[in-house]
């Protein structure tokens, strides 16, 4: 079953076609990679799915319901959570409170939300940082915090925007493990990623964007041997 169906999605900024007639589906429980060079329209696509941008034409269906045109907060209520390319934590809140804000979506009880937040901090190995203000955390911890906060909204679909960028190799390995775990717990994932080893390792299927258009779709093996993708993005001589 397809949890997310995108059909003919087009987003224009003045004369710039940021997303041009994009169509693909995401299966329930799948881990889909979204790749493409800078400016390909990947983050724009996330913003269209989550209602940050109003799309010019096309449809976005989540669990069979059309969600384009709905406000961002309502889309989150339906079960789509995301992280941001440029980290957007609540800087003057403690790590615990950051995640509690996410958990409060599904409960009105502050104590319950904090206990739930603590369990997500545990999952991401952040328990010892719970009292530290988000602004004082390292980059990798802030990225984890954002992920924990998104998980706390109990999403069915998680959109990850370059979670592995800016991390050192051992941190990337840790993130791959965490993302796999999340996916194994039943949450569908769409991830934008530039770190090719991350996306090639964990994505079951990959969609490639270039210049706002979709130029490829398939398994990681199919993608690395697709001449269009190699020309546009991977470069000659790329081996998975």
């Amino acid at each position: 079953m397809d949890i997310l169906e995108i059909e003919g999605l087009t987003k224009r900024f003045g004369g710039l076609l940021a997303n041009n007639e994009i169509s693909f589906c995401v299966k329930q429980g799948e881990m889909l990679g979204l790749i493409g060079p800078n400016g390909a329209g990947k983050t724009t696509l996330f913003n269209c799915i989550t209602g940050v941008y109003r799309i010019n034409s096309g449809t976005v269906r989540f669990e069979g319901h059309e969600i384009h045109g709905a406000p961002t907060y309502e889309i989150c209520h339906r079960g789509i959570a995301r992280t941001f390319q440029l980290i957007q934590v609540f800087a003057d809140m403690t790590a615990l409170d950051n995640v509690a804000v996410g958990a409060l979506l599904r409960t009105n009880d502050l104590g319950k939300a904090q206990r739930k937040a603590l369990s997500y901090l545990e999952q991401l190995n952040l328990v010892d940082r719970q009292r530290i203000f988000a602004k004082n955390l390292t980059l990798v911890d802030r990225k984890k915090l954002e992920l924990a906060r998104a998980l706390a909204t109990e999403p069915k679909l998680l959109l990850l925007d370059e979670v592995a960028s800016g991390l050192n190799p051992s941190e990337v390995v840790e993130f791959i493990r965490v993302v796999r775990e999340i996916n194994a717990s039943g949450i569908t994932i769409v991830m934008i990623e530039h770190v090719m080893e991350a996306v090639m390792n964990i994505a079951q299927r990959i969609v490639v964007l270039d210049g706002g258009r979709m130029i490829g779709e398939g398994s990681p093996q199919e993608i690395v041997s697709d001449p269009h993708v190699i020309e546009a993005y991977l470069g000659e001589g790329y081996h998975a």
Partner: protein
């Protein structure tokens, strides 16, 4: 935490016994004004502190409820207690309506918008003869009566004010320790992140606005019954809007007790300077300005930060491991 509770209890006892310990009516007046502005600063804190929406037009809600209770009492002899309820409801309603368009504005634009709407309505009321126009409405002096909310002594006003200060502090405490408080701080710090977590900013700003304007309305009726006179330049003066905001910001916006500390510093100063220099002088404003500058430079989070350090109350929140 022990020390904190001890200090709070002592402060509470002091204000409870104050009229008995000190008989000078001028002291009662100063502390009553302190209470009035403590309510206002705490009220402003909900929207300006926790939600970070810098309203500089809160005199509107103060004036609306002062006018409603006064008009109903003078024209139809409706008890100001009923006027208080109606005034508070009206203030909250007006706040809600102002919020509908203005909460879509960000930062400075929101602040300017709130000033504009309050000044515009003040100008209209000045021309509105039914409610006294620029002259305003006098409340006739009548024998002391609970139903008529009027006493010859200042002491009943003192205790009513104190009761409302306690309720305003309690409201701030409830806001801070609730989903609403968390959501407001989230909206203040990063609205797009808040949106992505399922928070509807307009809804929570409006809830905060209703609470904030309701308490501002309480202070409006209290002030009208205390001075027995409302006119546009007294109950809708820009200085009220500015003062309540400055008190909250100087004391510590977005904290439970910061706004009261701001009021406790600025009001006695203001009232004493008025006596020694005269009401027409504006020296107290100059001194205000200096205090605001000092706080802005040395402790932008407000004076409460120093007090919290003294009382060793932890600033951040966390659960035990």
């Amino acid at each position: 935490m022990k020390r904190y509770h001890y200090v709070m209890t002592m402060i509470g006892l002091f204000f409870l016994l104050f009229p008995i310990l000190f008989k000078n009516p001028f002291f009662h007046h100063v502390v009553f004004m302190l209470f009035l502005y403590a309510i206002l600063a705490e009220a402003w804190n909900v929207i300006g502190g926790y939600a970070g929406q810098l309203s500089f037009g809160h005199a509107l809600y103060f004036g609306v409820s002062a006018y409603i209770s006064t008009f109903l009492f003078v024209r139809f002899h409706v008890s100001p207690w009923i006027g208080l309820i109606l005034g508070v409801l009206a203030a909250a309603m007006v706040g809600f309506l102002v919020g509908l368009p203005f909460f879509r504005l960000k930062g400075h634009y929101f602040a300017i918008g709130t000033i504009g709407v309050t000044e515009a309505i003040r100008a209209i009321i000045k021309e509105w003869q039914l409610i006294g126009g620029a002259v305003g409405i006098y409340i006739p002096l009548i024998p002391s009566s609970f139903v008529d909310f009027q006493w010859s002594s200042r002491i009943p006003y003192y205790y009513i004010g104190l009761a409302f200060v306690v309720s305003a502090v309690y409201a701030n405490y409830k806001v801070e320790n609730s989903k609403l408080g968390y959501y407001l701080r989230a909206i203040k710090m990063n609205e797009s992140a808040a949106l992505s977590l399922g928070i509807n900013p307009l809804k929570y700003k409006e809830i905060a606005m209703i609470i904030s304007c309701g308490f501002t309305g309480i202070a409006g009726v209290l002030y009208a019954q205390y001075t027995l006179y409302v006119h546009p330049d007294s109950v809708m003066a820009m200085s009220i809007s500015i003062d309540m905001a400055i008190m909250a910001l100087v004391g510590g916006a977005g904290t439970i007790l910061g706004p009261i500390i701001g009021a406790a510093i600025l009001i006695p100063l203001n009232e004493i300077l008025k006596v020694y220099i005269g009401e027409t002088g504006s020296l107290h404003i100059a001194i205000y300005g200096v205090i605001v500058m000092i706080v802005a430079i040395f402790q932008p989070l407000g004076i409460i930060v120093y007090l919290e350090q003294i009382l060793r109350k932890p600033v951040g929140k966390g659960l035990k491991e």
